[in-house]
């Protein structure tokens, strides 16, 4: 084996190469996202069976996750505990200043605008997102993706676009359930555990509950689902380095997609409520 001749300024050169590789990765990532988004139509037209299979699989999860009830139960459970948190912390803090009657209002306001979309996004990234990365990564390591390309299947449309579409479709019932769970937990926590009368809670909850906000928060959840699925399919699709590489890809994908999802949610919140807060306290 011949040894490469030593170069001038090896450190600077190495630093430059690392920076160039990072820059290059942003480009390939963008290319992958654009390709995935543009071949969504292709996936709907040509790979419908795969799409339906993925939707079924995503709502229930794979492997050991099906045992505990799949994605639906996990996301529902996460929002349930977040709603319970509202009851505990909100009731406590509000009773510090003597207005614990307003817990219902806090539940209607914070659950819809803040907690349900964020928690649902986190749940999506952890369940269907990380699952997609694990699947695609394993396929890449076993050279199944190359095999697909060889037999003439457009792998981006077949694997990535179909997962993004399935994610968007799955997130709608999933998010509805998540919101219901968070309302339920906040109400039960406040009325049954802390002993506030249900009438007081319901009165403030119904007075300040804003259906338009709810619709927008569902849109936020869908946008987060798109971003999460894009990031996760990219990291799965480009996994390398054997079994350890798949694990690392899943970890990196979860990190990136959590950050991306939170920023998406922040951007939507700011653009929705930044100019007109759309909050009517006078009724």
């Amino acid at each position: 084996m011949s040894v490469a001749p030593s170069t001038l300024y090896p450190r600077a050169r190495r630093a430059r190469n690392v920076a160039a590789a990072r820059w290059h990765r942003i480009g390939t990532q963008t290319q992958f996202y654009v390709k995935t988004l543009t071949s969504m139509g292709d996936a709907v037209v040509n790979y419908r069976v795969e799409l339906i299979r993925l939707i079924a699989q995503m709502s229930l999860g794979t492997g050991a996750l099906t045992l505990v009830g799949g994605t639906i139960v996990i996301v529902g459970f996460l929002t349930l505990s977040a709603g319970a948190l509202i009851a505990v912390q909100g009731y406590h803090s509000l009773s510090n200043v003597g207005i614990e009657a307003l817990t219902g209002f806090i539940a209607a306001y914070l659950n819809v605008r803040l907690i349900a979309p964020l928690v649902a996004g986190i749940g999506l990234a952890a369940t269907i997102g990380a699952g997609a990365t694990a699947q695609l990564g394993a396929m890449r390591i076993n050279e199944e993706i190359d095999a697909l390309e060889v037999i003439g299947v457009r792998s981006v449309a077949y694997l990535a676009s179909s997962r993004v579409i399935a994610g968007i479709i799955v997130v709608i019932p999933l998010y509805s359930l998540a919101v219901l769970m968070s309302f339920l937990a906040a109400r039960v926590g406040t009325t049954a555990v802390y002993g506030q009368s249900p009438g007081v809670y319901d009165h403030y909850f119904n007075t300040f509950f804003n259906p338009v906000d709810l619709a927008w928060s569902c849109v936020t959840a869908m946008a987060m689902a798109v971003v999460i699925m894009l990031v996760h399919t990219y990291y799965g699709y480009s996994a390398s380095g054997g079994p350890a590489g798949v694990g690392e890809a899943v970890g990196r994908a979860v990190r990136t997609s959590l950050i991306a999802a939170v920023f998406v949610s922040l951007a939507i919140t700011l653009s929705l409520y930044g100019q007109a807060p759309n909050l009517n306290l006078s009724g």
């Binding site: 492997g63 996750l65 948190l85 694990a134 798949v246 990190r255 959590l258 922040l266 306290l281």
Partner: protein, 245 residues
Amino acid sequence: MTGVGGFFAMSADTVWAMFRPPFAWREFFKQGWFVARVSILPTLLLSIPFTVMVVFITNILLVEIGAADISGSGAALGAVTQIGPMVTVLVIAGAAATAMCADLGARTIREELDAMRVMGIDPIEALVVPRVLAATLVALLLSPLVTCVGLTGGFVFSVFLQHVTPGAFVGGLTLLVGLPEVVISLVKAALFGFAASLIACYKGTSVDGGPAGVGNAVNETVVFSFVALFVINVIVTAVGVKATT
């Protein structure tokens, strides 16, 4: 069900091994550095938008009822009691636990753990205990960082973008949040690090089935640690609230 039993058995072994003399200091420092390295950037990137969002949403409400002056207390309440631990959960489970599980899973697949057992080295003592302790320590240290970054972000956002008086913001910080809340938030963070790293180590050491197995194990680590951590959060919050009133 076997998995649950196995998890508790391994947790008990780990706690037992923590107090027995041969302690893998080198591995502990290496893991601590590793966990800190993978989590520091996600921590900063997650805690800023999180707090800005909470501060923004609460400020809308406070401006509407004419109480923008106490937005500092809202920010402090959010950042210290909920966002600090919550972001720590996300980072520890999403970044540290996944990396840990991937690493251990790869070693299990390559039968390195079996090789260690053959050589008479207990993997729990040599690998799991330092990892669990390192993650607990780093989680404990991350939570104040999240809180500080969050409060700074909230301050900048409230004062420069929403025109809250800086003095009122700072003055309101300690209105609802005191030492007990800070201590509870630190306890939460330490518990999160402990639980998440135990789950990661269990899932990592019980991997089978090649690359797909490692991927699934990491996926399950994320899911289970999120679920466990949310539950811990609710329980510790409830207990803490009871204890401080």
